[in-house]
């Protein structure tokens, strides 16, 4: 026996070693090489990506990433000079920081001059449809010319009149006015004041600093985070009436990641502490506790490593969820150590392993099937969580079956659990009857509840309810919205085979968008084609200008120029015949920055751009606009994520059903029909209990609670599997009490860890924890009673 055991132990130990080294060492190598750990706490990343095809998805991701890097710091004070001076201090401290790609405070007046020069240079090409239509008739051309003269002699023009000889019809002035109106309608309420961008709201001045985070600065849960630097710089300056208003996704991400880190620390510490106390109370020895905690830490390290290696980064929510591993992993340890400590019929570690192997293996398989199925969910975060748990639990299993048997057993006289003496079932207790009654009560109660509250049974995801800003972050978000008057929450993505194709589609879209938003406040938008028309449109503009040329002599004369200027004008017009503007051409920096988020350029061989409405004034109309062209997609981030989560929830339910069938089939290989049906009834009850309690509480079944439901499948089945294994042994000795006791301990430990998740302030984690806690309790009660 000894000869057989030793090589088997060695084999297990070798598998354990290879498994863990193969995962942990490469991860350590990557981290040491990069000298940083890539955490992800982007709120949008924890939600599914819209189902809009690969290339569109890439465009969407690029845009989300860009907007997710923008921060606005508004420095407010009653006195503009004080606000500006403080803004300058902040700017000086962060402008050269590597945590920012760019920081801007000053509004460059010269930049506007570049735009004036630009519209003059391309004056023939920039007329809009109104002007083109007007110039299509002789009378219209005459009116246009008259209007230009009136403008030249009026009290006010946007541009200098020094180019009148080259532009007697003031085409540049016409386009400039259109550009400025577009810029004003599509941007924030901020406007230039004393070289900075400022706004006055309810008697207070707000000076704006805009920053774009660098990769280093975007790293959350990291000391080099740009938001942390902003707070470090700004907080000491927030005195004497100065108030900072922070706006942008990074502030929310920073806050959530900080909260998440704190929650992880608190939940992990409290859970571990509770487990340590519980285990010490049971075992009265430090060894099982130290070994169990070591096993958990190793599981977490393994899970972290494999997730990091496979995904290149780890979402902070995966770590929050990962704390639940503590509860799952410790189950194996508990079952082992209960037998190690009190099952005197087993005299060697290998015998304990053999004794437990079927139960542990079935438990592992059922749990792993559930996690494995989640790996196929079309949602990155869920994949991360599934991989994290899949490997964590396997690591724990491997540690228990490989290393634990190497531990020497306690001396014979110490192989007892004092607490177990009090763990007696009352004489009247008839397990068979109680079990059946309990099951019937559960079914009856849940079905009755569902009958009463069936209208509340809904699969509905509302993203707005998943994350709720609180305190200062919320106050700042609201105030920033009021001050900036800017809240784009949806956009059109336009695809095309060429730059020209995209611009033409954009123009057609913008035309329809303008009709929808005519006269509406916040009906503006930003689009590349507002500033850089398609070549087709530029050609139309040139054609229209031709109709003005016969009027050039009179026009120039009215402005005081001789007829010799006419030929120069016509020569200039002809010379520019093939001169067109393109998004990749030589356009002024000021305009480039205005469309920087809108022109996505080439991605995977196609071209993309964004049309960003200032607000969604009419969602249905926007959708209809997009529906008219298969190359246009309208995305309302909040609505789309909700819809995608609904779809994903339903997919998960299908996976859930598949998992159920697979597990039942697997169990049938090991058990007879009675045991199989008994086991199979547990998941059904779990679903009924969770659904009925949620329905009675008026809570929608949403993505995260359904995910919790599928996870509790694996965990909840463990109890009944261990119990059936125990029953199959037909052992009437004291040892028969060990398994129910181990199940009780397992339940308590797992319930503590998932119960802790239910206390999380993150709605997703809370729903997940609550769902699992309810399911586990159901599974436990149905098993133990």
């Amino acid at each position: 026996m000894k000869k057989q055991t030793l090589p088997r132990n060695r084999t297990f130990a070798a598998i354990w070693l290879v498994f863990h080294l193969a995962i942990i060492l490469p991860c350590l190598f990557v981290i040491v090489k990069d000298r940083s750990v890539n955490f992800d706490a982007d709120l949008f990343n924890m939600l599914p990506k819209p189902d809009i095809g690969k290339a569109m998805g890439v465009a969407d991701e690029k845009l989300t990433e860009m907007t997710g890097e923008n921060v606005f710091i508004l420095v407010s004070h009653d006195d503009f000079a004080a606000a500006k001076s403080t803004a300058e201090k902040v700017y000086a401290q962060i402008k050269d920081s590597p945590r920012f790609k760019s920081v801007s405070l000053y509004s460059d007046s010269a930049a506007l001059g570049q735009v004036t020069d630009f519209v003059h240079e391309y004056r023939w090409n920039l007329l809009d449809d109104n002007a083109v239509n007007m110039l299509s008739t002789k009378d219209g051309a005459q009116t246009f010319a008259q209007n230009s003269l009136a403008k030249a002699y009026s009290a006010f023009t946007f541009s200098s009149l020094e180019n009148l000889e080259e532009d007697p019809f003031m085409l540049g002035e016409y386009s400039l006015q259109k550009y400025l109106t577009s810029l004003q309608n599509s941007g924030t309420s901020m406007s230039p004041k004393d070289s900075v961008l400022a706004a006055n709201y309810e008697g207070k001045w707000y000076v704006m600093i805009r920053g774009i985070l660098s990769k280093e600065g975007s790293a959350l849960a990291s000391k080099s985070n740009a938001v942390a630097q902003i707070y470090e710089v700004c907080n000491p300056l927030e005195k004497d009436g100065i108030r900072f208003v922070y706006s942008g996704t990074p502030f929310h991400s920073y806050k959530s990641s900080t909260s998440a880190s704190n929650e992880i620390t608190i939940i992990s510490t409290v859970t571990l502490l509770a487990l340590v106390i519980l285990l010490f109370f049971v075992f009265r020895s430090a060894l099982p506790i130290i070994i169990s905690v070591g096993s958990i830490l190793l599981s977490i390290a393994t899970s972290f490593s494999i997730t990091y290696l496979l995904f290149g980064r780890i979402h902070i929510l995966t770590l929050v969820f990962g704390t639940s591993l503590i509860g799952s992993c410790i189950d194996y340890s508990i079952h082992y150590f209960i037998n190690w400590k009190a099952n005197k019929s087993l005299t060697k570690g290998a015998e304990i392993r053999h004794h437990l192997m079927t139960g542990l293996l079935l438990s592992l398989i059922s749990t792993e099937i559930c996690y494995l199925i989640l790996v196929f969910a079309p949602f990155g975060l869920l994949k991360q969580m599934a991989v994290f748990s899949l490997f964590g639990i396997f690591s724990s299993f491997l540690t228990v079956v490989s290393l634990y048997p190497l531990l020497p057993l306690p001396p014979e006289d110490k192989r007892s659990i004092p607490l177990l003496k009090n763990f007696n079932t009352p004489a009247w207790y008839n397990k068979k009857i109680v079990s059946r009654v309990t099951t019937v009560i559960f079914f009856a109660a849940t079905l009755t509840t569902l009958g009463i509250f069936h209208k509340n049974v809904k699969i509905k995801n509302n993203v707005n309810e998943l994350y709720k800003a609180k305190g200062r972050v919320l106050d700042d978000t609201v105030l920033a919205y009021k001050v900036l008057n800017y809240n784009p929450s949806g956009w059109f993505i336009i695809a095309g085979d060429s730059t020209e194709d995209v611009l033409e589609r954009e123009e057609s879209l913008c035309e329809r968008l303008e009709k929808v938003n005519e006269g509406k406040p916040l009906g503006g938008y930003i689009a590349t084609s507002q500033y850089i028309p398609s070549i087709a449109k530029q050609k139309k503009s040139r054609e229209a200008v031709k109709n003005l040329m016969p009027l050039a002599e009179d026009q120039l004369a009215a402005l005081g120029y001789s007829s010799s200027s006419v030929s120069a004008l016509q020569s200039a017009f002809s010379a520019d015949a093939d001169k067109y503007i393109t998004p990749d051409g030589n356009i002024p920096d000021y305009l480039k920055s205005a469309i920087t988020s809108e022109w996505l350029g080439e991605i995977d061989g196609r071209y993309y751009s964004i049309v960003l409405p200032v607000s969604i004034t009419n969602e249905t109309a926007y959708e209809q606009i997009a529906d008219q062209d298969p190359n246009v997609y309208f995305e309302d981030k909040i609505r789309d994520i909700g819809r995608d989560l609904d779809r994903l929830t339903k997919t998960i339910l299908l996976l859930f059903a598949a998992a159920y069938v697979v597990i039942v089939v697997v169990l049938k290989f090991f058990y007879n029909w009675r045991h199989t049906l008994k086991t199979a009834s547990i998941p059904l009850l779990i679903v009924l209990v969770i659904t009925s309690i949620f329905a009675a509480s008026g809570i929608n079944l949403e993505f995260f609670s359904i995910t919790g439901m599928i996870l509790v499948f694996g965990l909840g089945l463990d109890y009944v599997i261990y119990m059936i294994e125990n029953e199959k042994r037909h052992d009437d000795s004291q040892n028969s009490k060990l398994e129910p006791f181990a199940i009780l301990l397992s339940f308590l430990t797992t319930a503590v860890s998932f119960g802790a998740l239910a206390l999380s302030s993150f709605v997703p984690v809370h729903m997940l924890g609550l769902s699992i806690f309810l399911g586990l309790t159901t599974a436990f009660l149905c098993t133990i009673l």
Binding site: N147, Y153, S154, F156, S160, D194
Partner: protein, 210 residues
């Protein structure tokens, strides 16, 4: 570009200033006189001098300054009008088409309304916070040269020079010379100023963006 929108404000400033007069003339005393006349109407002649090409464009018309805003109605050689209200700028072309620029969220226009209220309330403190003022007088003639402190404004307009004559009944305002940063100048000469206590309904209608 946008910065040019401020010009009429200063013009208004000047026109309002035309009523200012005191024996010991100071800028403060001129401003104090402004608050006495909520409305000023009259005729103007405008000469735009384009230095780069050494040319001038001359036009004339009528104007209104009031608490509602400023109206600049060019009559010759080509008719047009420009109204700078508290929340919008309205341009009307010879064919009667109106272009309305929303100014409610525009800082420059907000500063215009602030300047207006400062003038009408005689709040020179606020004006001094926006401009460096050099005031001088020579006999009956007075001149105030205003240099904007705001760099955004000064990037377009270098100085604004106001001039007028002093009389025993008050001050007669007659010129404005605005020098742009490009070196171009716009000179206004004002005549036939009147100070009605209230504007007529037709005059008021000019300030409504419809």
């Amino acid at each position: 570009m946008k910065k040019r929108i401020i010009n009429p404000v200063f013009i208004l400033f000047i026109l309002i200033s035309s009523s200012a007069f005191a024996a010991d003339m100071t800028f403060d005393s001129v401003c104090a006189q402004l608050a006495q006349h909520p409305n000023t109407t009259g005729s103007f002649t405008q000469i735009k001098k384009i230095s780069a090409v050494n040319r001038s464009l001359k036009s004339s018309g009528t104007f209104i300054f009031s608490l509602e805003g400023i109206m600049w109605k060019t009559e010759k050689p080509f008719p047009s009008s420009l109204v700078v209200g508290m929340t919008s700028v309205i341009q009307t072309t010879p064919d009667g088409k109106k272009t309305v620029i929303d100014a409610s969220n525009n800082q420059i226009f907000t500063s215009i309304s602030t300047t207006l209220s400062s003038i009408f309330s005689g709040n020179t403190e606020k004006l001094y916070s926006s401009f460096n003022v050099v005031f001088s007088s020579d006999g009956n003639r007075w001149t105030a040269v205003l240099t904007p402190k705001d760099k955004t404004v000064s990037a377009v307009m270098k100085t604004l020079e106001l001039g007028g004559l002093s009389t025993t009944g008050g001050a007669e305002f007659d010129t404005i010379v605005m020098t742009e940063s490009s070196g171009d100048t716009i000179t206004y000469a004002f005549t036939e100023q009147k100070y009605p206590k209230e504007l007529s309904d037709n005059e008021k209608a000019n300030f409504t963006a419809k």
